[in-house]
Symmetry: D2
Subunit: 355 residues, 4 copies
């Protein structure tokens, strides 16, 4: 067990605060002999990087990753891979307000309640900045599962969903919202702009699909593939819900409606539906693994909210500073990374037991 | 890591198959000196026990638990507590059909794909029978967190939800559905009866509330309280979704709508709302911990479904035998147990680090 | 982490006290498809079983193991294997003396200091009886590493060592001491008899050799093969020292004397010596893995020893009852089991990372 | 589980190779609120630092540690503490010989056998340089157990032992050998000088004592205090043996000779001896924890040794370069660090379960 590690045999540990000198991850258990350089990781960090459009926080971080260990002559050696990302744009501002009062919805009060005090600069350890470490670790994980293709996208912002019939994966990279439906992307431009200008924020739903996962990955009963995915995704900042396959929708169906009938196929069965989201009994079935993740609206808003100070006095707080109007957008590469990390770990667990 | 263990410092390991001689759990890390006997565990097993109404499977299992270790003179000793429940009603039936073909929605195909073969009698290890072990372990966990009260209930069956305004916790034990709204309970009687008679099945949503959790439990970042709850609940048989607090609903809100404002209170802040479900930054806030769990409809239905045989031939299968028409109902004590197990583990983790 | 579990991916958990109804182990992570029945385990339990000669405790325990889960149609299914051994000969005696005062050298005082009280009947959880669970688990492990042959023996009793030149593995089973040197076995007969009659006890050194371990097993840096073996063996009751290869002897050598030169061989190098005990850098080299384990003399002796009571009063105590005059003898199958368990775990860890 | 992490709730992960840009450790689970700066760590690194006398390797490394996270306003925050030490003196030399042939006694062959290739520059990950990370992590651990005083020393070099009657802890810092007996220190000067000049090397025994450990620490049965110490110390480079208390000497004693009688004391019992080394049943007794660790002679010697090349050809190898003539000497601060790390982890585990 470890508070800041994740995974069983492909395991990563992250460290670092929003406004410290750097953040990073140590990836342990990576198979040897894989070609790896910073160039394999950087594109994923770039996708998550802030400041790329007006729809994300304006903090300017190049998020340049450095590999400090575990690679020799361009290949992984099987020893721990230390990844470091320097913090560059820790704006020297006055934190006295955040230090003195709790921002509702943030981790401020909970951290103080647990640890007795907290690093209040930019949210410290609870900042979404930490997710850059996950994305970097996830980029390494992808190299271990080349048979798998992971694609995430935003499915809804502020309750405005894409039209599933218009889903086009090729569109995801064509707009600042990771939106697979160009009409929705257009609507969201105004939606998010309005929220941003109003100092408000919006929730979002991110969906993710992993194809190429063979049947048999998953470690029942207490490291089930779906349970591990739920753990990984619920642990992302601002996430409040996770669904596999049909999710809450399945709870409203009958057994007949929810059945994924099977027919003989060329390589394993052909499934006539995928309500299961590619997982049965905690084990992959060979169908695409499908999941959905609910991001709450960013808690940092300009509207004053009632709160209390560290001393327990009544107060109001407006969260100024540079914030994402919809934190779910930048959640897309993070969800992808967490899915990659879980699948990689399960692949290695599988071959530990099965060979 | 372990495939069949759960928890970091309060850790349990389960074993056993549906039709083997027994099932059980080993609970490790329990504090010493707690009063414990079978009588502390049995009521929770009785709540989960099948065959108590026509709305659950008719398999007759007394589910009598035996404590085989870890207790001396009526008190826990701090050593592992071995709990065993004998299987009594393994009906000797003909399993040739299930052995030969895969039941869609079940773990059959996935287990075969992973392990090469499977114990097909009653679902073997993938049977919901295993959850009796969780409930027994959860009963022990409750003794470690007497400050916490955990209550779960069914919130919806087949899409028919309770009226939140009619919520009455005292009603939960008064009907066979763990339903807090007597009107809904009445409707569900016909709903589930119809499904049962038709050989069909229904999904359900289970909600759970834990009060008395102090602010500060949770181990960020990769053993966050919400992530651990999601892991625990997504790992229950038939579960396809987990929400904390506002869940997917929060994804449709603005920051203002989702804010849980704070006012000075007697003992910590008074929160004006609980969209967060009692958890911020992965740490409890002192508010009630709230979560919702989606159960899919039982996959075992009498309607024939297309499937394939072990040899890859096309076939049809009807799942005869004794099955729950709505597996979510008996999920209620299981959800409670998993929540108890997570909270206990987090309490001990908290005092490991904080003292 | 778990207090009562061992192993990373091949992991077992033990439970049970000396005088409870039973003891047992849950073996998790076992590969599927291995032929397994009680008959594969029983011989190893029989080798450890007490009461077989006058040189061990006279407690009569048949140590019949039952497999309660994880096996179907005679093969392991990949799910947890629950092993149970009933306690039969818990002699109903008066424990008031042991309950009231601490036996020097035993865990009595330490358990009370930690847990506040203890199960004093026969030593409770700290009894060497628990090692039967390890031996049972180890028998399962051996099935996973058929390429490896593990042989342990007693090398010295009470300071009287075998003559290495007379080592004959075939002799180990021919005497009640697991002694590979028939002359030493003869001497030990009188030595142990004298100690037994005097109500005294003797320490012993157990050696173990594992051949067939391929080069490459071991998980540096913090799950090194030698570190895991040291962990496994130091955790056996009464063990106070562990050596790999040259051990403490190597500390008195020069680099030249300690070098294991290599020459080209048919299948990997031919080593000209094995000071390393088959392990370099925490990884197996393909040479036989060699280790030595020091067992202290049984603390239970008839000579009165000064002690204190639970209330802190001065007292004398003589440990009556049925005890091994040399607990190291029955340590032989336990050392073998622990070595098998470590090697199996490392084999699976190796293939997790390397494939 | 993790290959490169150690500890259960106070857990550290190390990374880095001898000739990479840096090495480091991430310390997780540290209690919040402890005063911590680089100045708390540096003295321990300085004690281990090479190049301080002619009796250690001449590699010049300032070993300046940087704290990159987990500390705010001079106090630990409870979040992971990232420690980094830059490698400065990676002498650009010709490694072709080491790359092509295996140095007997080193990890070279085993790493190649496991991973298929290796970072051969200075031993890569298997270099003793990694122990600087342990020492840094150990310095943090010491802050968590201020009640404990840990002192290690060299007890013997090349078979020449100190005179226990002359033991003077104050002398340990007065000579380059961490030797508590000034006469032995004088003898060792010539002994090690001779070995160094001859291009040879010597083994050593390091002893360690931890006072102030209260009775009750230790997590039986599979995280016993003695087993954890054995694991921690056997995992140090070049270690081949670990003893607790009487160790192998106890195996030659009778029960009477080995008994640690108890008398009433002011605060717990007064023990009349400490053959147990402060640990019974895997739990501390309140006596000083005593252990001994055997270091083999450095494998790097100038005398040519027979070996094979990567291609399996016969060859001779002389290990040139800068090496410790007696690696056990610099093992002293490493043993202290590992003992501190184990005790800290056990303290936190203890309070997790006991409160």
């Amino acid at each position: 067990m470890s508070f800041n590690s994740f995974g069983h045999v492909f395991r990563f540990t992250t460290w670092g605060e929003s406004h410290g000198p750097a953040i990073g991850a140590v990836v342990d258990g990576c198979p040897p002999g894989l070609s790896l350089s910073e160039a394999d990781i950087q594109p994923f960090l770039d996708a998550r990087r802030p400041g790329q459009s007006r729809f994300t926080t304006q903090r300017q971080e190049p998020d340049q990753v450095r590999i400090l260990s575990g690679v020799f002559d361009g290949r992984t050696t099987g020893t721990p891979i230390s990844l470091m990302i320097e913090n560059v744009d820790q704006r020297s501002k006055d934190y006295s307000e955040v230090a003195a009062a709790y921002r509702p919805g943030h981790a401020d009060y909970a951290y103080d309640a647990k640890y007795g005090f907290r690093d209040y600069r930019g949210g410290g350890r609870s900042s979404a900045r930490e997710t850059a470490s996950r994305v970097a670790a996830g980029a390494v994980a992808r190299l271990v599962i080349p048979e798998v293709t992971i694609t995430a996208w935003v499915e809804a912002i502020g309750g405005d969903a894409i039209d599933p019939a218009k889903f086009d994966a090729a569109e995801i990279g064509n707009n600042p919202f990771f939106c697979p439906d160009p009409h929705a992307a257009q609507r969201w431009e105004k939606l998010v702009d309005d929220a941003r200008k109003a100092g408000s924020s919006l929730g979002a739903v991110v969906a993710c699909r992993a194809t190429g996962v063979p049947a048999g990955w998953g470690a029942p009963l207490y490291a089930k593939l779906d349970a591990e995915l739920a753990h990984a995704c619920m642990g992302i900042n601002a996430v409040k819900g996770v669904e596999i396959g049909g999710g809450f929708g399945a709870a409203a169906l009958t057994g007949e409606q929810n059945a994924d009938a099977m027919r003989p196929g060329n390589d394993g069965p052909t499934f006539l539906a995928n309500h299961a989201g590619g997982i049965a009994g905690g084990i992959s079935t060979g169908q695409p693994v499908m999941l959905r993740v609910a991001f709450k609206p960013t808690s940092s808003i300009l509207t004053p909210v009632e709160t209390i100070t560290r001393d327990g006095e009544a107060s109001d707080i407006r969260t100024k500073g540079r914030h994402d109007p919809c934190v779910g957008i930048r959640g897309v590469p993070v969800v992808e990374a967490m899915v990659a990390l879980v699948l990689t770990d399960q692949k290695l667990l599988h071959r530990a037991q099965i060979g």
